[in-house]
Every structure is written in structure tokens, then in C-alpha cells.
């Protein structure tokens, strides 16, 4: 399988969840484990380019597929993705637990719909729960990210 662009081969127990594989076997701890039954969205990653819940997939199912985690967004703190910059600048995270899922869901949204209305943002992120209840700032951050990505495309 390919993880964040890198070919990766591991032998895993069938019951190994994809999220635990990413965190424990590959040390990619950016993806968070929240509810562990597909409700909270903290474990959202891209699987062959589409968002999935990595807590309700088995790692063996990723054999031959491509997974992108939140680590794929930036090489380091000095080189943040426009979505990350927008979350930073707009107070789009408080405790940060839901953030990896929010970022990946936002990435999918903005790739499909570069200029979403507030209602469209709220629907796209409805499956990502923020227990700090910081939704107003998260929605602002996504709008700012859309603008930031548009500016990046222009330059």
C-alpha cells in the first residue's frame, strides 16, 4: 500500500484497525482515535482520494490502496497547507482532537467545491464532531481556507 506517497509493506493481524495501523505500526499519530465506531470523524483519512473513517476499516483492506493522512498536508510547521494556516489564524481548533479529521474533510470539500457556502460547509463537516463546540470558528476557517487556496491558485 501507499501511505502519504510512500510505498509501505507490513504484515498485520486481520483485526488491526486501519487507524491503529497508521498510529502504532507507522507512527503516524496525527490521525486521532475518537469514538471507535464511526461517529466522531476524528480518524478521517483519504482512501484512494476519498474520505473514510479509518476506525471502521481494517488495515488489511488497504492492501494495494493509497492512504493519505493529515501528515500529508505539510512537511513541517514552517510549510503549512493553506487549510492549516486558515485553521490556525481563525481559531479553528481548541483542544485539537477533532482537527485531523476536520482538515481532511475540509480538503475533500474544497477540492470538489472551491467556494462553498456556509450551509455547504456545515453539511460537509456534519460527520466531524468538535466537543469543544468550536463550530463557528471552524466554519470561518474553512471559508478562509477556500480564499487562501484560491489565492494560491492565482499566484
Amino acid at each position: 500500500m501507499k501511505v502519504n506517497g510512500k510505498e509501505t509493506t507490513r504484515e498485520v493481524d486481520p483485526r488491526r484497525l486501519l487507524v491503529d495501523f497508521l498510529r502504532h505500526d507507522l507512527q503516524l499519530t496525527g490521525t486521532h482515535v475518537g469514538c471507535e465506531h464511526g461517529v466522531c470523524g476524528a480518524c478521517t483519512v483519504l482512501f484512494d482520494g476519498e474520505t473514510v473513517r479509518s476506525c471502521i476499516m481494517f488495515a488489511v483492506q488497504a492492501d494495494g490502496h493509497e492512504v493519505e493522512t493529515v501528515e500529508s498536508l505539510a512537511d513541517g510547521p514552517d510549510d503549512l497547507h493553506p487549510i492549516q494556516v486558515a485553521f490556525w489564524e481563525n481559531h479553528g481548533l481548541q483542544c485539537g482532537f477533532c482537527t485531523p479529521g476536520m482538515l481532511m474533510a475540509t480538503k475533500e470539500l474544497l477540492e470538489e467545491n472551491p467556494d462553498p457556502a456556509e450551509e455547504e460547509i456545515r453539511i460537509a463537516l456534519a460527520g466531524n464532531i468538535c466537543r469543544c463546540t468550536g463550530y463557528v470558528h471552524i466554519v470561518s476557517a474553512v471559508r478562509a481556507a477556500a480564499a487562501g487556496m484560491a489565492a494560491e491558485r492565482m499566484s
Binding site: 493481524d13 486481520p14 464511526g38 473513517r53 476499516m57
Partner: protein, 285 residues
């Protein structure tokens, strides 16, 4: 929590999958999208000894129009129903209904057939399967059978599928002249508290055949034959919607749970059916 240990089988062909099911029977559980099964395994409410992962069987990903039917293979995801223009042209209700299911990340993975196999009484596809006169194909090593949706759902999470059978496709009728759908859920993406689907054949403005089904109103998705009889012979309009809604309320005895009491659900049945019939009227036919 984490799932209990299991043996993992990942057949490449349908024949291989059916062989595994023939050997293991009730000790094997097919896995398609896993959006209900994996949570149940994580919570240890399900402890299958063997998982038969269907995701490598390419032939099951096919969705196509065949005569008067939209044939949806066992690996067709909700998001395909939502986004495919070919599906939309033949079966527009598919796009409307798919958007009610979970969230994008769930719809990318979860499957139409998986939802029907799981048979949650509050799920959307089983309800739509009843309204749209669906046929469900079950295969076992050496034979297949086709069961109408009307005879498929037995009770909560239970269908007529035998342990060595695999549901390979559901085929929805594309021949209805008009249709409507309405769902009440607590929040966007939740299972229905009550949902209603209506499919009708209309001739010269008069309904000649109607099928009306509900999700969330009992231990299984159900048709409302008495309400269908009320709609048949009338025009598709607001007055008919009110008459059909009243008949519907009298036909159901919903169960109450944390998402809605029995009485509340009974009230919602009337409103959902009325709005679904109005939806059908607005779509013409």
C-alpha cells in the same frame, strides 16, 4: 474497543466467495462497506469468526440499467448512487435518498446492498426497496434465487438470507411515473426517526398503482397496503396526500425508543407520508 480476533478471507471472485460461505456457513460474515458491521465488531456486539471481504470482487461493483431495472451490485457505494449521472437519469430517487445516509466519509464506503442485508428498520434503502418493487438476488455455490423486497425483511436486522448465501445485487424498478420521499431525523446524517417513500404509476392524472413504504415505524421496513389503496384511483395532489396520510397513521403501531416515542413516531408517519405524496405530486407524472 477493538474487534475480537477473526480469520480474514479476501476472495477475488464471486465463485471463491461462495465456496468460502458454503464451507463456513453461519461461521462466516460477508463484509462489503463495513459501516455497520465494523462498528458492531469494535463494540463486540458482533464477533464473527470469519470475515469474507468482498471488496476485491470487481464484478460486484457494477451498477447498470437492464431493461426496466436498475441493477445495483453488492459493492456499489452510497456515493455512487448520489453522484452518478447515469444512475440519476434512470433512478433519480437514488440521489435524493443517498444524501440522507450518514456523511460523505460513510457514503464513500457503505453500500446499498449492505444496508439492505443489515436490515435496520430505520435505514433508507430497505424502505426504498419496498416502494420501488425491488428484487434481491441471493447466490450460493451452484444456484441463485431472486426474492422480492416484499418477502425479504423478516424482523429487526433479520432477512431471509441463509448463512451460505450472498446478496449479489438489488434491482430497483425504474418504471414508476412519479415518486416522493420524506425523512425526519434528529440531525443531518442520522438514521430516520420516520421516513416515507412513495412510488406511483399515473395514467391521465389518476394513480393506477401506488406503493408506499416506511422506515422507522416498526421492527422492519413496511409497506402500507391500506394507504396505497386510498391513493389508487385519486389524482396526485394535496387533498390525496392528506387522505393517504390519515389512512397511514391508522395502519401503524410504531415502537418507541430513545430517538422518538411511539406516539411521536405515529404522528410523524402521517406528516412524512403526506409530504412524500406532495413531493410525488410536485415531481409530476
Amino acid at each position: 474497543m477493538k474487534p475480537a480476533p477473526f480469520e480474514y478471507h479476501a476472495p477475488d471472485t464471486l465463485a471463491d466467495a461462495l465456496d468460502v460461505l458454503a464451507q463456513l456457513g453461519a461461521e462466516a460474515t460477508p463484509l462489503a462497506g463495513g459501516q455497520s458491521l465494523a462498528p458492531l465488531m469494535n463494540l463486540r456486539l458482533a464477533r464473527p469468526l470469519n470475515i469474507v471481504d468482498l471488496n476485491r470482487i470487481e464484478s460486484l461493483s457494477s451498477v447498470r440499467v437492464e431493461g426496466d431495472l436498475l441493477e445495483v451490485g453488492a459493492l456499489v457505494r452510497h456515493s455512487v448512487m448520489e453522484r452518478s449521472d447515469d444512475v440519476y437519469r434512470a433512478f433519480p430517487v437514488g440521489r435524493v435518498v443517498a444524501a440522507f445516509i450518514g456523511y460523505p466519509a460513510i457514503r464513500h464506503r457503505g453500500t446499498v446492498v449492505g444496508s439492505i442485508a443489515h436490515a435496520d428498520p430505520a435505514a433508507e434503502w430497505p424502505c426504498v426497496a419496498l416502494a420501488f418493487d425491488a428484487e434481491i438476488t441471493l447466490a450460493r455455490a451452484g444456484s441463485t434465487r431472486t426474492v422480492p423486497a416484499d418477502g425479504f425483511f423478516k424482523t429487526m436486522l433479520t432477512t431471509v438470507r441463509e448463512p451460505d448465501e450472498l446478496i449479489t445485487q438489488v434491482a430497483f424498478s425504474t418504471t414508476f411515473d412519479s415518486w416522493g420521499f420524506h425523512e425526519f431525523a434528529r440531525r443531518y446524517g442520522d438514521f430516520a426517526v420516520i421516513a416515507a417513500a412513495v412510488a406511483a404509476r399515473v395514467s391521465d392524472g389518476i394513480v393506477t398503482e401506488a406503493r408506499i413504504s416506511l422506515a422507522g415505524a416498526g421492527d422492519r421496513p413496511m409497506r402500507l397496503l391500506g394507504a396505497e389503496a386510498v391513493l389508487t384511483g385519486r389524482s396526485l395532489d394535496g387533498d390525496s396526500a392528506v387522505a393517504v396520510a390519515q389512512a397511514s397513521v391508522d395502519l401503524v403501531e410504531p415502537l418507541g425508543d430513545i430517538h422518538g416515542s411511539a406516539g411521536y413516531r405515529k404522528d410523524l408517519v402521517g406528516v412524512a407520508v403526506e409530504r412524500a405524496v406532495v413531493d410525488a405530486a410536485n415531481r409530476g407524472g
